[in-house]
Amino acid sequence: MAQAGEKNVAPALEARDLTLSWDGEHLVVQGVDVTVAPGEVCCLVGRSGCGKTTILHALAGLTTPMAGRVLLHGEDVTGRPGRVSYMLQKDLLLPSRRIIDNVCLPLVLAGTKKAEARAKAAPFFERFGLAGSELKWPSELSGGMRQRAAFLRTYLMGADVTLLDEPFSALDALTRTEVRQWFVGVAKELGLSALVITHDVDEAVSMASRIYVLAGVPAVGEPSHVIGEVAVTRPAGERSFELTDEYLAAKRQVMALLG
């Protein structure tokens, strides 16, 4: 079974030579290659308006690229939504559903009975810092809690690859750092592979093991492409990674690439 062997080494998520356009005429992104290994958290960094969200939409299968392919564990999933989970900047919790039902949404949409879905989701509330908020309405929760609920919903989709679009930028600075650290811990614990897009270099360096730097100004006819890749090494046992030389070195490299 050569195929099975190949699947074992295949990256969790791979974009090959991705070329995208908003209108089928003007290119936004040209020839982008991105790879996320199983269990790895990668970041895609670029300035606002360089087409980061467009890339994520294509990776999520919401749009079909002009050229290039999207592979999930080696399988071609180009233009097919529902295979990777996707989390946006806004928590997008449905205001008309209680937290537990919001969190269960992917299960219920896939045909699981409501009671069964609730039972399946309930054990995770503790780990996601949401204990006691099961029957609350989204409007009754703080921004940080809403974001964690959105993340639990994303997790319950059951996809092992998650795409995150500036997931923490709507939170205030203190909550952001807290939720970010919490996310890295949970992702590690659950063995998730994730691709996070952000314009915040600090966010990228503190979360990712590898950072792709995207550059270009599609609005003036310069399609974006990956101009460099920075590996981040995390000293073992270090509690505040943000204060280490390794952190600063990685940040410097990314800043230099962004120009």
Binding site: L62, L94, R97, A110, W137
Partner: protein, 262 residues
């Protein structure tokens, strides 16, 4: 913005009640003193007396008017809902009917009511049709706007969860439209009563509109006012009923209101 504190509940209830009482007293005084002759304007006391005297008769007419209004409103809501769903679902349907709906709204109800009576007779049908015509528009417009107000990102997110079109409608679009729908329904409820009364006025055998034309012909203005009171009461009652339905259908709205006040 403003630092002014919210008025207390008691103040919110008492202030308008006192105002109404003062206006009624003024009205009573103006007629009693003789500033306005009593044959032109009955006093509030006379109106209440007329209301008590004709209570049974009014109740009977009330049932007719309410039945016409309710039937028309139900049909108007059903029709408006169907139209709004089609307009939300098919862009060409939206483009085709959106202008027609706006134009239809400029046609005064009073002007088509006699035609409806002419075409459909003196029975309940022209009344129900007029109510449908006057309630359909606010329902459709509020629903179309509500369906369109749903966040594009929510739809994209649900697509990544493999949601079907129906699921997106049920979980995202319908709740997003609920608030505006109930606002439209509240307006429609008052239109329904008024529409039924106008249609009765122009021809019929029963209903508050018929009652009003009869008492007007006999110059019983006190009874006229009694009918007005009943019509307002019906409209208010129907509006309260819509509010109650909204409370039951949208429990999250009250949670939102509470957390905003905090």
């Amino acid at each position: 913005m403003s630092a002014r504190p919210e008025p207390s509940r008691a103040r919110r209830v008492i202030t308008p009640l006192v105002t109404i009482a003062a206006l009624l007293a003024l009205w009573q005084a103006v007629v009693t003193v003789g500033i306005v002759p009593n044959f032109l304007l009955p006093t509030p006391v006379q109106v209440v007396e007329a209301l008590a005297q004709d209570a049974a008769l009014l109740a009977g007419h009330c049932v007719t008017t309410l039945a016409e209004a309710a039937a028309g409103l139900a049909a108007g809501v059903a029709l408006g809902f169907a139209f709004a769903v089609l307009m939300g679902r098919f862009e060409s349907f939206y483009l085709a009917f959106e202008p027609i709906m706006t134009i239809s709204q400029t046609i005064p109800t009073v002007a088509i009511a006699p035609l409806l009576v002419l075409w459909l007779g003196y029975g309940a049908l022209p009344k129900v049709v007029l109510v449908i015509v006057s309630t359909f528009f606010p329902i459709t417009v509020s629903l179309v706007a509500g369906f369109r107000s749903v966040d594009r990102d929510v739809i994209d997110l649900m697509r990544t969860m493999n949601a079907s079109r129906w699921q997106i409608f049920w979980y995202a679009k319908l709740p997003a439209a609920a608030d505006q729908f109930f606002s439209g329904l509240k307006i429609s409820a008052t239109y329904a009563i008024v529409g039924a009364v106008i249609a009765e006025w122009l021809g019929g055998n029963e209903g508050l509109g018929v009652y009003m034309t009869r008492v007007r012909k006999s110059f019983s203005y006190d009874r006229m006012f009694a009918a007005i009171i009943v019509i307002s009461a019906l409209s208010l009652g129907l509006m309260k009923l819509v509010e109650l339905a909204q409370r039951l259908c949208m429990p999250w709205k009250w949670a939102e209101r509470n957390s905003n006040e905090r």
